[in-house]
């Protein structure tokens, strides 16, 4: 069977999506990156390999996420795409008329505005932690609530506590304060959901025109409390797509499929699942060539240098033929 593979490498999670030639999801994986992207990519490949029947033939590979370049040199990608485009492509494939995508992942959040199936505007927040999944994880942990139950409990609240949500540090101390005052956990959780939504709309969406259909994706979309808070705040129905947690990977796979079908002669660059069994090593050093002190990253496969980046001036990256 012909398939396409999408890999989305972020600092929090690394996701895989394997689709067939009609774009149907065959297998998805959501793994924690835990600061070890290379290992995570390889174990993802191994898990896919073990799970799949032998008649699978990978016809194309796409990578996305902040680690897209790294993933591409490790697995051999045909398409290397930014997260915005990948998320938009995946969303359109599930809800073709989508006009607004709200995406909240573990490490960042985005808003994408589309009209007639085309991205016309977007914004990304990579700085403020108060608008991301990691923030929710932390607060859930602090309250001793498993993150999977967060939304369920929050939805029960009749009287949400108001939490100052402008910034992660304030929100956290405010929440601790409210907790000590003895507010109900469900009310605090709901308050956190509302704070996150307010923060997202003020800092990420920033006055962009949010028209329905609105799709909510990214890891945080699993949290029904946040979904509800968005619905209340926007007064619109919010759609959470089936594969909300791996939309970036799905988009990358779809993009690979598109690229390969446009050029029938082309063979995939995919190194095969054997890539998972090669020995990869990432090294970095500080260049002393000038006061920029760039951190140069070098990737070795079986002790052979295959890629190098991180220099501002091209002194290092230009000398490796990838």
């Amino acid at each position: 069977m012909e398939c396409y593979l999408g890999i989305d490498v972020g600092s929090v999670s690394t996701n895989f999506a394997l689709i067939d030639k009609h774009g149907k999801m065959l297998k998805k994986l959501y793994l924690r990156t835990a600061g070890r992207p290379i290992e995570t990519i390889k174990s993802g490949l191994k898990m896919l390999k073990e799970d799949l029947k032998d008649d699978i033939e990978i016809k194309g590979v796409g990578t996305t996420g902040s680690g897209r370049k790294l993933a591409s040199v490790i697995v051999g990608a045909d398409v290397v795409k930014n997260e915005i485009t990948a998320h938009a492509v995946a969303s359109i494939s599930e809800i073709p008329t989508v006009q607004t995508i709200l995406e909240i992942g573990g490490q960042d959040s985005k808003i994408i505005i589309l009209r007639d199936g085309i991205v016309v505007d977007f914004a990304m927040n990579t700085v403020c932690a108060a608008g991301t999944g990691s923030f929710l994880d932390r607060q859930a942990q602090r309250l001793g609530i498993p993150i999977e139950l967060f939304g369920e409990i929050a939805i029960r609240s009749k009287n949400p506590t108001r939490i100052a949500g402008r910034c992660a540090v304030f929100a956290e101390s405010d929440m601790i304060h409210k907790q000590q005052l003895g507010y109900k956990v469900e009310d605090i959780l709901k308050g956190l959901c509302q704070a996150l939504v307010r923060n997202y709309l003020a800092n990420v969406a920033k006055g962009k025109e949010i028209n329905p259909p609105v799709v909510f994706q990214g890891g945080v979309a699993a949290n029904s409390g946040i979904k509800r808070a968005f619905e209340e705040e926007l007064g619109m129905e919010i759609i959470v797509p089936e594969h909300f947690d791996v939309m970036g990977a799905l988009g990358a796979a779809l993009l690979a499929k598109k690229a390969m079908s446009q050029n029938k002669q082309k063979q995939t660059n995919f190194y095969g699942f054997e890539a998972a069994f090669k020995e990869h090593r990432a090294e970095s050093f500080e260049c002393n060539g000038c006061p920029n002190l760039c951190e140069i990253v070098q990737i070795y496969v079986d002790n052979k240098l295959i890629a190098r980046w991180g220099d501002r001036c091209g002194r290092w990256s230009e000398n490796v033929a990838v």
């Binding site: 795409k81 930014n82 485009t85 016309v120 977007f122 990304m124 006061p291 920029n292």
Partner: protein, 368 residues
């Protein structure tokens, strides 16, 4: 006397020529680097805009190298640029440096003041000598602008990756080293020959993107992560709205030598920003309108965090973008900006305008 000045893109080349030809010893600060930014930030008020921080870093690095006279531009109007020199002088004095700071105010009718200052810096050289040194520097500026424009057009279509930038580096050296007008004319020939020999791919649907915004972030590749080069690598033809010649015209030349172009341009911004808002806020808006009229596919608007004039411009951009049907992306830069985040945004923006262009070819999309 050892003269130094802040960096802003290639401005150091004509400035060095100018002062050296007048017999001054010149200390060009090291090109802005992470170290420059770090020391600059360390000693600047936190909420100062990025250009102040980086140029302060330039000064410290130059003083460390033995410079004792700083030449800095002044400014007028509601934006903070007018206070830069004063603030920086105080900071440097507090740090215990011993130096002279000469502030060149824009010569609104005070052109002789400027000449007097140059006379002082250059040990009482005659007006004629100043004029001649100025002329060579000015010719270098014109050539540099031409070079940058050429490079921005070719990089997007070069067949052999990196070729354009190699030629560019070489060209900068040639211009920098030219000692008189004859040598400069020769350098110019060589540069043109070299650049026109770069093999180009035939690209029918080349994307065109305009760059507008605050002048320092536009001109200084260190703070904008070499955005022109990055866009070129993504296969995009880039045109910048401000070049050094324009800055020198506006800031150092007497008013009768100024071109009328800015006034004509400002008219384009009138429906959105009717008055002067400091810096280039109004020009940014006007340039976007102008790029839209010239059929560009998109515009990128650059500004340093907390830059007042450009924040005013930014506030009207959604309207401008809608009315003139041109996508605009604003990038705010500060000392915490990371290259990966910028790159992702650039790539996404280019995807956006590319899709839009392809769609337009079939005549379906209306940008609303």
């Amino acid at each position: 006397m050892k003269v130094t000045f802040p960096h802003m893109g290639n401005l150091y080349i004509p400035l060095r020529t100018f002062f050296e030809n007048l017999g001054a010893e010149v200390v060009v600060p090291p090109l802005s680097s992470k170290r420059t930014l770090e020391i600059g930030c360390k000693y600047s008020p936190e909420f100062a805009c990025l250009p102040l921080k980086v140029t302060l870093g330039n000064f410290i690095e130059a003083l460390e190298m033995g410079a004792d006279t700083i030449v800095m531009a002044g400014g007028v109007g509601p934006c903070r640029f007018g206070y830069y020199a004063e603030v920086q002088r105080e900071i440097l004095k507090d740090l215990g440096y011993d130096f002279d700071m000469i502030v060149l105010e824009p010569p609104q009718g005070h052109f002789w003041d400027l000449i007097k200052k140059f006379k002082y810096i250059t040990n009482k050289k005659s007006f004629k000598e100043i004029y001649l040194a100025g002329k060579l520097a000015w010719k270098k500026i014109i050539l540099l602008d031409r070079l940058e424009k050429m490079v921005n057009r070719i990089r997007a279509v070069e067949l052999e990756k990196g070729k354009t930038d190699k030629a560019y580096k070489k060209a900068l050296n040639l211009i920098s080293n030219a000692r008189d007008e004859q040598e400069l004319a020769f350098a110019r020939q060589q540069i043109e020959k070299e650049i026109s020999s770069i093999k180009k791919a035939k690209e029918r649907n080349l994307l065109k993107v305009g760059l507008v915004g605050e002048i320092y972030t536009l001109l200084e590749p260190f703070v904008n992560f070499n955005i022109e080069k990055q866009l070129g690598e993504l296969g995009v033809l880039v045109e910048r709205s401000i070049y050094i010649s324009q800055w020198v015209r506006e800031n150092l030349l007497p008013s009768f030598m100024k071109s009328k172009e800015p006034e004509v341009l400002a008219k384009l911004a009138e429906p959105y920003i009717p008055c002067f808002v400091g810096g280039h806020g109004r020009e940014s808006v006007a340039q976007i309108v102008s790029y839209a009229k010239q059929g560009f596919d998109g515009v990128i608007h650059l500004l340093p965090l907390t830059c007042m004039p450009e924040i005013v411009a930014k506030s009207v951009l959604p309207m401008v973008s809608k009315i003139h049907s041109i996508p605009v992306m604003t990038l705010v830069l500060d000392e915490h900006s990371a290259e990966t985040g910028l790159r992702t945004r650039l790539e996404a923006f280019i995807d956006l305008i590319r899709e839009r262009k392809e769609e337009e070819e079939f005549g379906v999309l209306s940008w609303d």
